[in-house]
């Protein structure tokens, strides 16, 4: 009986799930979490790197959605809506970090660590940590376009919509972000 109900929930489309969620059906909400947690994880980890706060921020994304499900008008896809919340919460966290590092010695310690310290011999394919460190070095406006476009695989138009920016701005920020990444990662790039 339980399995049959589970099976039905798994096959519901997005709008039906949202409707059931509005009616307080917790199974529908769980299904939404199951469907989108991977995407939200890649957005948050892309923006913040591996950190203790990432899980809490991920949970907050879904809790905010649950609380405001009655206000969700379905003008954008659910994934896009959740990603927008994830990006905003990540940007808030970046601001908090900046403030914290301004008030403490954290900044000095972080500055001491360089991408080069990780493993100068490993190639990009072998070491995700190098890439993550390099992404973390980008400023938040470049980081957000890069994460949405390259990690979450949104189109430039979708990225522009999520960030509420013109497509031209997204393209120029993407180019700038990649120029900076190329600078940071020069020692690891192959000389083909």
């Amino acid at each position: 009986m339980y399995l049959a109900r589970d099976y039905r929930i798994n096959h519901l489309d997005e709008s039906e799930l949202i409707e059931r969620c509005r009616n307080g059906e917790q199974q529908a909400f769980s299904e939404i979490i199951r469907r989108y947690k991977g995407k939200i994880a890649s957005t948050i980890f892309g923006m913040l790197g591996r950190c203790d706060e990432a899980d809490d921020i991920g949970q907050e994304v879904f809790i905010r959605f649950y609380k405001s499900v009655n206000n969700f008008r379905g003008e954008s896809a659910l994934g896009t809506y959740l990603t927008r919340i994830a990006i905003n919460l990540s940007l808030n966290e970046i601001k908090r970090r900046k403030l914290r590092s301004f008030l403490s010695f954290e900044k000095l310690i972080e500055e001491g660590k360089d991408i080069m310290d990780i493993d100068a011999k490993s190639s990009l394919d072998e070491n995700k940590e190098i890439i993550q460190k390099a992404i973390q070095k980008l400023s938040s406006k470049y980081r957000s376009v890069l994460v949405l476009r390259l990690i979450d695989d949104y189109s430039t138009e979708e990225t522009a919509k999520i960030l509420n920016l013109p497509v031209g701005t997204v393209l120029s920020r993407l180019a700038r972000a990649q120029i900076k990444l190329r600078e940071y990662l020069k020692p690891y790039l192959s000389e083909i």
């Binding site: 991920g58 790039l189 192959s190």
Partner: protein, 144 residues
């Protein structure tokens, strides 16, 4: 200047459609310039590596944590609602008793005296300050 323009065109080619002229220009430059080809390969390499960082997941109990947080908030809200309801109920009682006492006081003052001012009705007639310190005048003010 030309190199800068070409570099931007190169980046643009990964994320957006180029016009026929732009595509042709880039194709020709890629054929002739080894440096541009090297850049193209490096950008592709970076993009591939960045895309590969995507496979990450939250804590295995991620979903349970969310549901328990929501349930806790809901039970807290329920408790607050019960408290607010009981507060409204008890204050309703107090308000009823107070209004009954007020009506009784006004009725008593109306029956016992002939002062129809607000102070008179509520039994809060004020003694002016100059009478308060003069015992004779105070007697006069009190109507004795």
């Amino acid at each position: 200047m030309k190199n800068k323009k070409l570099e931007l065109l190169l980046y643009k080619s990964f994320d957006s459609h180029l016009t026929k002229e732009e595509a042709e220009l880039l194709r020709q430059e890629l054929q002739s310039s080894k440096e541009l080809r090297r850049k193209y390969n490096q950008i592709s390499e970076i993009r591939k590596a960045v895309s590969n960082t995507a496979e990450m997941s939250f804590d295995p109990f991620f979903e349970q944590h969310i549901l328990s947080k929501i349930n806790n908030t809901q039970s807290e809200r329920k408790y607050i609602n019960v408290f607010a309801d009981s507060l409204v109920f008890s204050f309703r009682k107090v308000a009823l008793i107070a209004s009954f006492l007020l009506v009784a006081l006004i009725s008593y003052n109306l029956i016992s005296g002939n002062n129809y001012s607000i102070e008179g009705l509520l039994g809060t007639s004020k003694t002016p300050i100059e009478y308060a310190f003069d015992s004779t005048l105070n007697l006069f003010w009190s109507g004795i």
